[in-house]
């Protein structure tokens, strides 16, 4: 089918739905309240069969099930993902607000405790040089390193999100296709969700006086693109895709790897799956 064909069909469905809505409004006016559902179900059986979906051109959220994979054994800590995310999503450029960040775990010879740092560490801030630029300082180059690795972090888009549970107004919610989103126009800025997230994935965006976090670039994935961080990762440490598609990168990633999630004991059931992280990572 041509691109035009799809567009025409979408338009037709839209009109049909609009008509259907008007019809239901009329009946609602006459019969009121709870009667609507019964009447609609009786008169329009197909209306109940077609699940409602947001008005996103060419996209049906009932047909997708997004998930994210991170192969920490591939990550080189170049932080291209962090910079790209800030540009793509207009995140404040300072080193205290991140939708995604990368952690470095370093164990030195003869030491038991692991050194962990990330973009907000003063040494790394200095190495980066400017807001919006990020770089890991090569602080361990002369040390005797026993083990070291990088771990990219982002919102886990949990199946049972603690943040959604505590939001008092319904400004954050889980979509049918698996993303956890924030409606900035409803957020009252109480920051209860910031407290509730065990992963530190949420932050308060002072510029817009509302809470903010990763959306898996919902505006990209609904257009058939990858999230910006996946798009720019030079070593394919980040994997994204639709689990309904058995040949998508994420389906292959999940099939071929033994994966783990962060803080499984929280009961949040994350949807970002990790390969190659160590016991200290949480």
């Amino acid at each position: 089918m041509t691109q035009e064909g799809i567009a025409v069909e979408d338009k037709a469905t839209e009109l049909e739905e609009a008509g259907r809505r008007d019809f239901m409004r009329l009946f609602g006016g006459v019969l009121g309240g709870g009667g609507i559902a019964l009447v609609a179900a009786a008169l329009l059986p197909e209306a109940a069969a077609v699940a409602d979906k947001p008005d996103i051109p060419g996209y049906d959220w009932n047909k997708h099930h997004w998930s994210f994979g991170v192969d920490a054994t591939k990550c080189i800590g170049c932080l291209r993902c962090v910079e790209a995310c800030k540009v793509e999503n207009n995140v404040p450029k300072d080193p205290h607000h991140f939708r995604t960040w990368v952690e470095r775990y370093v164990t030195l010879e003869g030491e038991e405790k692991t050194h962990i740092d990330s973009q907000h560490d003063p040494v790394n801030i200095e190495a980066a040089g400017a807001d919006g630029k990020y770089r890991f300082a090569n602080r361990y180059k002369d040390a005797k390193v026993d083990k070291a690795f990088f771990v990219p972090k982002l919102c886990n888009h949990c199946t049972h999100p603690a943040c959604v549970q505590v939001c008092p107004v319904g400004a954050t919610y889980k979509t049918e296709d698996g993303a956890v989103l924030i409606d900035h126009t409803m957020c009252i800025g109480c920051q209860y969700c910031v407290q509730a997230c065990p992963y530190g994935a949420r932050f308060f965006n002072e510029e817009i006086q509302a809470t903010d976090k990763c959306t898996w670039c919902y505006h990209r994935i609904t257009k058939g693109l990858n999230p910006a961080c996946v798009e720019v990762c030079p070593v394919s440490a980040r994997v994204f895709g639709d689990r309904n598609d058995k040949q998508s990168p994420i389906s292959i990633f999940l099939r071929n790897n033994r994966v783990t999630v962060l803080r499984p004991e929280s009961g949040n059931a994350p949807n970002v799956f990790y390969v190659g992280i160590d016991k200290e990572v949480s």
């Binding site: 370093v106 319904g170 900035h184 126009t185 990209r220 030079p234 070593v235």
Partner: protein, 344 residues
């Protein structure tokens, strides 16, 4: 029931009704459509304009650069190593107007009013991924900047769009010359460089079998005064670019002869030092890149003089850096080594 109680109950009922009506009236449109949230916000969030535009969008205008990149080592999907255009140049699909905060599709767009970044400091750019750093997986190519090229910019040697291709191979303007035409005008050179390009004077280099582009570029450099030698500058003064290329082709076609002065102990010491030179001048001093000279079999005095000139006044970013850290003794040893290596 006393009057004040009935009135109180009335006030309470009135307040409750007002509150309920207020709640219904203030509930925003499309709330509860899909769940406990504003249904329309999903489509609003999805309507943001993507900023990263994928390499395909670059190809239309930058076909040549795209071709270089897509054939090069930075586009290796089999290994999962793909450094896309926007990784170094930044997002092409636009930037938001506001410094931070709400997304908006109204900001500057490339190419109309947004120039993409061309990283000026390639050392800083390339080391984001390629600086040797604990934590980076072994399969990642990593360098220690100080010992790899010092303060030299990466782009001097590497084609940034396809880093395994060396810059000179593409950047040199030299075209393949005609050896026969070169032979016709080579008589003037024979006085110093020898009849078949084998010099009799140890201070003057043999040319036979030398890499072609290097020779052509050397003649052009003397002509422009970029390399300084009174004799050579006057000889090159009247040579056209094509004449230089023909001469280069001719000498490159001749058979070389190693200087072989027999200084074995010094040569052995030089062999150790020569390991660093191999990446450009080739294993055993026979260059595999046409723009860099072979060193094998050149005379010891000439090589020594060249190294010293790089330490002193002669300009060449890479060689200056290498020569700067060498003692006179090192130079002598290195020269001895190359002089005694077979040139074929």
């Amino acid at each position: 029931m006393p009057k004040h109680i009935t009135r109180l109950l009335l006030v309470i009922v009135l307040a409750a009704v007002l509150a309920y009506v207020g709640k219904q009236w203030l509930t925003v449109e499309s709330f509860y459509r899909f769940g406990h949230y504003r249904g329309n916000s999903v489509a609003e969030i999805a309507s943001d304009k993507p900023k990263y535009a994928t390499p395909k969008s670059c190809e239309t205008c930058h076909a040549a650069k795209y071709a270089e990149w897509s054939r090069g080592v930075h586009n290796n999907p089999e290994q999962g190593k793909v450094v896309k255009c926007e990784v170094c140049h930044g997002a092409a699909g636009g930037r938001d107007k506001n410094p931070n905060g709400y997304n908006s599709a109204t900001g500057a767009e490339h190419p109309k009013n947004l120039k993409l970044e061309i990283p000026a400091d390639t050392v800083r750019q390339c080391t984001l991924c390629h600086e040797q750093m604990p934590g980076r997986p072994l399969q990642q190519k990593q360098i220690v900047v100080a010992t790899h090229a010092g303060t030299q910019q990466c782009k001097v040697c590497h084609n940034v769009h396809s880093p395994r291709t060396f810059v000179g191979a593409l950047a040199s303007t030299s075209k393949p010359g005609n050896p026969a035409a070169g032979k016709a005008i080579a008589a003037d050179c024979a006085a110093c460089h020898g009849k078949l390009g084998i010099s009799e004077d140890a201070s003057i280099p043999s040319l036979a079998g030398q890499t072609e582009i290097y020779l052509a570029d050397a003649i052009k450099a003397y002509k422009k005064g970029l390399r300084k030698d009174e004799t050579m500058m006057s000889m090159a003064k009247d040579l056209s670019d094509s004449a230089s290329e023909n001469l280069a082709a001719y000498f490159a076609s001749l058979t070389c002869k190693s200087a072989q002065d027999g200084e074995t102990p010094a040569a052995a010491r030089g062999q150790v030092l020569a390991k660093k030179c191999a990446s450009c001048h080739g294993e055993n001093g026979i260059s595999k890149q046409a723009m860099w000279p072979s060193l094998a079999g050149l005379s010891k005095p000439y090589l020594e003089k060249a190294l010293k000139s790089y330490k002193a006044e002669r300009k060449n970013g890479m060689m200056n850096n290498i020569a700067k850290n060498m003692s006179d003794a090192d130079m002598a040893d290195l020269a001895s080594y190359y002089a005694n290596v077979a040139c074929r």
